[in-house]
Subunit: 306 residues, 4 copies
């Protein structure tokens, strides 16, 4: 099929921008709360490396939970299947920061994309590399081909000051023996990764390896082998949008990951990567206009993984 | 890619048959308990209608929960989005017959493929057609192109005599107003659908409309439009194998539905449908050799939805 | 201490009657819904057998869950400690008709005074006597010294027609093997016991054996030995008012049992039995004016079990 | 009734000492783990102030959760009913350190005697007095009439190093706004109170105010008024032994509080206070020989609150 992606992104921009009014910008830290809900960006990159964008696609925003895909990928490369001794791979069925399942399941998070799972991944990063914060940043920069990507120190500080729920999760898992380093060290890594800022252009590019059978399209480096690439996308599909993952698969039909900064990035294997950003969230913490735009994208193009 | 499917199915037959020894045949009713754990069958049909099979592909077995895809499809055609007022579309995170989530969520089942969801679908069938049991059977016969498909009355009788958990689910949802007919009538439909017997050849053929953008490949009839076909497959991917759905997506990467009779049927959109049968189940109620065969299928062919 | 109980009951009648306006009469069956919220009765009987009353103490009302004390007593006499193989003796921490704990605890109800526990007791009654409905009624009549006490058949019929939650509980426990007779037979006993009608005078008298170290004060018959009498009162204190038991113990400090008909009966060992009736319930299903009257009773007399 | 308490305590000592072999000494911190399971002590003090003891009644041990009664009493005096805005008064139905209920109930602990509740009480102590650690110790010393009672700094250090679950509870409640001071300050108070060491003689004496309508029998000071004294005992009865409270009420029938150091202290209002100590615990964290001794005490004397 031949689609004029530039026209389509512009159309989606105008059609779905106003859905933001039904949502609410994240307000748990000042650095996020003051972001205007008017921003809206869409970026698409094909497996040939051609980039199309619409709206505020050059403005960096807090990627928050989208970073969980990067940190998981780093650890998956190093540790492989041993990950699954300490993290499950089932949808959680409960909110992203719930402690209930952890208690029933003895400190083993359901999957790597709920907060508890990502905190265990941060703990693993501390075990497999010396300076995980700079290593993670370099890794993302190399995927996006852009060395300007950075941490926002104000966001880090805010997360540390207010992240009581994440401290609770980390201490709770430590009580089950599933955190090996100190809670302070682990959350320092975790809060930094959440505070990375990127544009939708950068995000679309950095996820393109998933649509390229695991190879970085910029330099051909194998990030993950094809089998692991498949498996990571399956995790994204079943668990990438918190407890809205099933609904997102139903409406959109793309493996994707969202963050409370309002970003969502998805891929169609062997075809394309698509990033959207609109800061107003629905009650489950996902970008309300972002989901709408992505659903229309797969409906209008009759293209999805299904 | 060009794969010799007949050779591949035979190879998978020999490689994975013995995994059955790690599982256990369902024993909650005599009619299932007495099935030999030695049966093993694989059937694949391409979007061109070419059928390949290996093993016991002509022996009918109890399709059990696989029937939920057929009943849901019938109701989805008739009622469409109104379904979602009474059933969710998120993975459940708990066992297929759990009542816990129902209580927290006021009688709304998480998705149409857990027992509670399928019982609501059976209730909807009673509302949209006069004789749902015969209508469902005709529908399946037309999808499979085979009028010999039938209910097993002994299985129906056993389910009625021992299905206390299903009675509990139905009465519980009725207490929330989410069952409109009598519990007896609803479960009569539900127990019948679970007692349908089919071969893997018939199952593969009857799921082929999903790989054919919603059209029955035998007669070209549109069963579901392309958008709804996508959505149904998304539900199968996130919720088709009970609380092992995430793991199955991770290992196999196909939308699929399993049953405690030991059958699993999956599809790769626009390509093929694959049915397997081995009665020995893992502890989550899914065919242990069946999952192993399907994982090797997508790994060896480097073909999945991801 | 010397208290003029008649004056005190009259005072409590006037002081607390209007609390009923903050509550709501039970409306799940027509026979209860149509009861006027204006009724208010208090009856007290001392260990010497002297009866004091105020308000509508001669009007029979539906005793509902108060009957669980009578049925439990009957079974406790016959079976003794074997009861505890099938029922726990801990407060439930959840609502009276919750299924969640049952699922976590494999069909063993937390205590005999939540619905699930009382349904198991009804099942036990069917095992230990031929005609439990008439035996239970005779037992209550002998305790109260009044043969006019009866079942209300309209209430029985209503409970049967609308008691979906109780059917769900019974089927659920049967799926765990904790109901030995048919669900229909068990619930027939259970719905009958809930439909017994008594006045506060009769209720106060029928609970007096608890304040008399287990002996029926009318004829000296030992209903329970002193040790079991203590134990039954402990169960009432920790579990007699659904998930408001802790609060009731805190405010009132008497072992007691409530019902959704608006009755509450409590005892102070070796002293007295006190029954109140006001049909308007708080959100946990207990009589709002009834609790208020009982709290003032123990506060004004500085008399409680503590 | 006239009982020779000295003889009875000696008899209970010999009859129940060996029950310790069915239990296990707490092993979560070294300072507790190394305590011999052979210790056994019983102390009883009457409302006249006469003390009877048997066994190791002069050896101090870690009172752990028994301290929750002292801290709660201090705060109850100062704040009164405002406590109930931040803590419930229902039995929890779950283990003493569970986070599940906290999540369902938005950070409000079920009662002041589960860990979460006692941590909120510690937070309140920081609000109502300048130096809660020394104030609490003075308060206990004055109740027991013994200035040698002290904190064990080794136990404090161990609790801080290993108390991940308590850190999780405190951070979790802080995320709901129910902890007002820093987690470190609050847990410093909490870990200190758990590390107080007392003998059974001291414990029996320090609880005697509860059996004396709230007045310190040593100097006549009103610790709590009679109404609050009743209410505190009701809390102890419904929630004093973790999720074994119902069972303890059933078997023993005294308001009491236990600790994982193996101590239990109970009272019979207007009569006596009884403290026991045996370090071996049952699976719910209560002294196994201690409960047995207390059950026999109330059975042999036919004396309880019921």
């Amino acid at each position: 099929m031949s689609v004029n992606y530039k026209e389509l992104l512009d159309q989606l921009y105008y059609e779905t921008k106003d859905f933001a009014k039904y949502g609410k910008v994240a307000n748990y830290i000042p650095a996020l709360e003051r972001i205007s809900g008017d921003y809206f960006a869409l970026s698409l990159i094909t497996d040939k490396g051609v980039l199309y964008s619409s709206g505020d696609h050059s403005i960096p925003f807090s990627i928050q939970s989208i970073s969980k895909v990067f940190s998981f990928t780093m650890v998956f490369r190093k540790i492989g299947t041993e990950i699954w001794d300490r993290i499950g791979r089932e949808p959680s069925g409960t909110a992203f920061n719930s402690l209930i399942q952890l208690e029933h399941e003895k400190g083993i998070p359901r999957n790597p994309f709920i907060n508890a799972g990502a905190i265990v991944v941060a703990d693993m990063m501390l075990s497999v590399c010396n300076d995980p914060k700079s290593r993670l940043l370099s890794f993302i920069q190399s995927l996006a081909g852009d060395e300007t990507i950075h941490y926002n120190p104000e966001v880090v500080a805010s997360e540390k000051a207010t992240g009581h729920r994440n401290y609770a999760l980390a201490h709770f898992m430590k009580s089950f023996g599933n955190i090996h380093h100190t809670v302070e060290d682990v959350l320092d890594v975790y809060f930094h990764q959440c505070a990375i800022e990127m544009t939708t252009d950068q995000l679309a590019r950095s996820f393109l390896f998933l649509a390229n059978e695991g190879k970085n399209p910029i330099n051909g480096e194998e990030i993950l082998n094809p089998s692991r690439t498949k498996r990571l996308q399956a995790l994204m599909l079943t668990s990438g949008l918190y407890d809205e993952s099933g609904d997102f698969a139903f409406r959109v039909g793309m493996p994707a990951k969202s963050g409370v900064g309002g970003g969502i990035v998805g891929v169609i294997p062997r075809q394309l990567s698509l990033a959207v950003w609109s800061p107003a969230l629905n009650e489950r913490g996902n970008s309300i206009a972002g989901i709408e735009a992505m659903e229309r994208f797969t409906t209008y193009t009759a293209n999805s993984i299904f």
